[in-house]
Amino acid sequence: MTASDLVALSPLILLSATALVVMLSIAIRRHHGASATLALLGLAASFASLRWAASVTPRQVTGLLLIDGYTLFYWGVLLALAAAVVLLAYSYLEHQTGHQEEFYCLMLLATAGGLVLVASSHMASLFLGFEILSVSLYALIAYLHLQRLPLEAGVKYLVLAATSSAFLLFGMALLYSETGSMQLATLARFYMGAPNAALGAAGWAGTVLMLTGIGFKLAVVPFHLWTPDVYQGAPLPTTALVATISKGSVFALLLRWFHPAGSLAGTPVWWAFVIMAAASMLAGNLLALRQNNVKRLLAYSSIAHMGYLMVAFVAAGPLAVQAATYYLLAYVITILGAFGIMSVLCSGEEECCELEDYRGLFWQRPVLAAMFSAMLLSLAGIPLTAGFLGKFYVMAAGASSALWLLLFVLVASSTIGLYYYLRVLVVLFSSLPEDHVKVMLPRGRVPAGAGFSLAVLVILLFVFGLYPAPLWDLIRGISAGIG
């Protein structure tokens, strides 16, 4: 390990050190504000060091991690998301009983796991990243362990994620026994039917097992069953974390793994992704139709959104990576905003996530309701928002690879999806019922940190929806060197 390697790893090292510092600060003296501030400072330092790390990239560090423009871009995204979650979590946890400080430590660790995942070019680092992420999430989901739902969600996630890790590990073992390599790039070559590289039965079995493990983390059909329960049960900042950092980093890994030079099209792995994409879009949108809990609704919609992402993923060529990255970015901004607004609104011990709690929200909290509507419209893919352009790029990528059947499913299921997003919108803007005595969402000032992060998210939502050129150019630059 040389000095340049350390420079390339500096964002990751700084982030891990921050988690340690937060933990020690708790040991010295518990203070909610101090822990949150330390976490924010660490994230900022880590973000700042991206520039420094960029001076020595692209660089393969120790055979496990590949630090290049693509990695650094996703690192930046993950760190920014984590900072937004810290701000939102601070206002949310203020109202909760029990210890609040450990949340930041665990959250930083989860982010570090995501960073490792994005950079990994080797099965060992892939698994390490997976585990760092999962183990922190077990604790984060069950963070409010005195309440029934978070505990239940935590246990469910623990059992299912541990099982999926076992699948992943066994798949890795089988693939290694067959190919003799643990480098992801070498494995990808096997799938693309390179000369004298054919997989036997054990290799394919290993591939299926690995896809199971990864599919679980992404919550694509048929590995989606945990999503609604975990989304509903987890505290809102954790839900935002699962929806953004966990899924985003796994998807970034998948993109990097399967999109080097060469094309998957027509191979068995490709067909697996196509089927998962179509099934996720349909099942996610159809199941969301009858949900009366906003968290569950967004959980099912997240399954559908992973399906849309998969459409861009199975498309061939450089456009696929760019479209998928743009869509992912638009999606994480939107969903973080949506969960952020919910966490600001639910300022009591009890979360108010039933659809009825939001009836007439516009007449009580106009600004937050307008922001929430913008997020919902972006999720539905209405023009002027980032969600629309993301979907547009996904369509363009799919069309350029002539994936007509998938595109048809995408259009049809987005139309179904429109119904339930509009259903929430109607509730937001409908008049308050006559006998409305219980004000679920009390008036009050939005905490400065949470308000700031929400404002930034809304601005980004519109900037990326109206003026995508700078971001698109950036994404084109980083995805050029992916393979």
Binding site: M1, L20, M23, L24, I26, A27, I28
Partner: protein
């Protein structure tokens, strides 16, 4: 790969289990007495339910032990490659052990190692 040794092996395993269970079924004696169903056929009659609640503190300490013991295994892994790893490896190991130390300090300070039912700090106050 030749499959038949494996098939023979499986058949032998199955045959052995069948023989053990079958022979004890045929040759064994059967009786149905007063104490046959009891947990202990001799000695004192058991009282109450077996579902006793144990203090979770012992469990916590056991988990800490397992975790720290497991971490120590990584030090062994380094020890066999100490020459190959060289000074960078040494520095990495020191970092690792320092992180473990910090974790221990954290556990100590939050009172996780305190296994009395009333923590000392709270009693003093």
């Amino acid at each position: 790969m030749q499959l038949w040794p494996f098939v023979v092996y499986c058949a032998l395993v199955g045959g052995l289990i069948a023989a053990m269970l079958g022979l004890s079924y045929v040759l064994g004696q059967r009786h149905q007495d007063r104490a046959t169903g009891a947990p202990y056929e001799s000695g004192i009659v058991s009282e109450g339910s077996a579902r006793v609640r144990f203090s979770a503190k012992f469990y916590l300490v056991a988990v800490f032990f397992v975790i720290f013991d497991l971490e120590a295994v990584f030090v062994y892994a380094w020890a066999v490659a100490v020459r190959e790893a060289g000074w960078p490896g040494y520095i990495e190991l020191i970092t690792f052990v320092l992180i473990l130390g910090a974790t221990l300090a954290y556990l100590w300070r939050v009172g996780a190692l305190d296994w009395r039912s009333v923590p000392q700090g709270r009693k003093a106050r």
